[in-house]
C-alpha cells in the first residue's frame, strides 16, 4: 500500500521555502503569494501568506506532501496548523541575514516537538557568499539546546540539494523510529488527535 508523508518547510522570509518546494514538486505547486510590502525585511516582490503545497512521489511507493509555511513571525499561527500530522520539518536558514543563529533558534523552537523527536533538519543557504556562521557554529547552538539535529548546506534552487536534505532527514527519522514502539498508524493518528473542542 502506498504511503503519504507530510513534511513542513520552515524558516525566515526569503530563506527559500517556496523555491525548495518548487524545485522538487512533481505537481504545479499551490502558492499563496501576495505582494510583499515589507521590502526592508527582505527585498523580494512576493511573499507567502498562508501555505505552499507540492507533492513528490518516491520510488518506494511513498508520496511526500510538502508544505511551506509563511516566514514572518506574525504568521506564526500558521506554523502550528502546518505542523499538525507532519512527520518532519526542514528548517531553512538564510546565512545572509543579520543573525542566522537567532533564526535557527526561533524556527526550530517553533517546531520543537518534531526536533525533540529527531524529525528535523537544518539546511543553510547562501553559505557561498556568507560563510559565517559556520556549520560548526550551528551545531554548537543545537548542542546547547540538547538537540540532535543534522545541519547541512543547501542551495534550494538545485533539486538535488533539496533531495539530499530530505534523504538525510529520512535517515534521521528512520534511525529514531527503529527505537520507537511499533503502533498501528491509523490508531496512532486517532490517539494523537485533539478531543472534541480541544483545539
Amino acid at each position: 500500500m502506498s504511503r503519504e508523508i507530510k513534511l513542513v518547510f520552515a524558516g525566515s522570509m526569503g530563506a527559500g521555502k517556496t523555491t525548495a518546494i518548487r524545485s522538487i514538486s512533481e505537481i504545479e505547486p499551490i502558492l499563496t503569494d501576495v505582494a510583499n510590502t515589507d521590502r526592508a525585511e527582505f527585498d523580494k516582490t512576493d511573499t507567502t501568506v498562508a501555505l505552499d503545497y507540492g507533492e513528490l512521489t518516491l520510488g518506494i511507493g511513498e508520496k511526500l506532501r510538502l508544505y511551506g509555511t509563511p516566514g514572518q513571525v506574525r504568521f506564526d499561527f500558521m506554523w502550528s496548523i502546518m505542523a499538525e500530522g507532519a512527520l518532519g520539518v526542514v528548517v531553512l536558514i538564510d546565512n545572509s541575514r543579520p543573525d542566522p543563529i537567532a533564526d535557527l533558534l526561533k524556527y526550530l523552537g517553533a517546531f520543537r516537538e518534531l526536533a525533540d523527536a529527531g524529525a528535523a533538519i537544518v539546511a543553510v543557504g547562501r553559505m557561498d557568499t556568507h560563510p559565517r556562521p559556520t556549520l560548526d557554529d550551528f551545531a554548537t547552538a543545537l548542542d546547547q539546546l540538547g538537540l540532535l539535529v543534522p545541519v547541512m548546506p543547501a542551495d534550494v534552487r538545485r533539486r538535488q540539494d533539496v533531495l539530499d536534505v530530505l534523504e538525510v532527514l529520512f535517515q534521521q527519522i528512520e534511525a529514531t523510529e527503529e527505537h520507537a514502539e511499533a503502533v498501528d498508524d491509523w490508531l496512532g493518528f486517532v490517539r494523537a488527535a485533539a478531543p472534541r473542542g480541544g483545539s
Partner: protein
Amino acid sequence: MMSRAIPESLKKAFDREVASLHGRVPGVIGCVIATVDGRLVSSVVDNEADPQRVSAMAGSMVALGETIGREVKIGRSQFVVVSALGGILLLQRVPAERELLVVGTLARNNTNLGILLHETRGTASTIGRELDEWLAANLKG
C-alpha cells in the same frame, strides 16, 4: 515510516455519505472528506478540481477560520465559506469525539447557502457518528 491508512470499513461508510450528499442536493458538484492535516479520505467531484489538492488546503482553511474566530473574540468557528463568482465552497469540521476530519462541499453559485449548510452539517454529523462508533469499538484503553 509512519503513514495513516484509514480502515476500509470506515472508508466505505464515508464514500457512501459523500455520494449521498452529492446525489441528493441539487447544485452540489463535489464533496471531499479530508484529515485535519490535509489528506484525502473520500471524494466525489464533478468539475476539474483535484480532490488531493483541495484536501491539502481544507484542513488548514478550517483551522485558520477557528484561529481567526478566537482572535476576534467571536468564539469557535462553525464553518468557512468561500463564495466565488463560479460557485461556493463550504468547509467545516466533522463533529466527533476526536477532531480527525473535515468535510468540504462544492456547489454551483445559485445554490441556496442555507440548504447547503444544513445538508453539509447533516453529512458531517453522520460521518461523525460513524467515526465515533468506530472509535468506541477500536479505541479502548
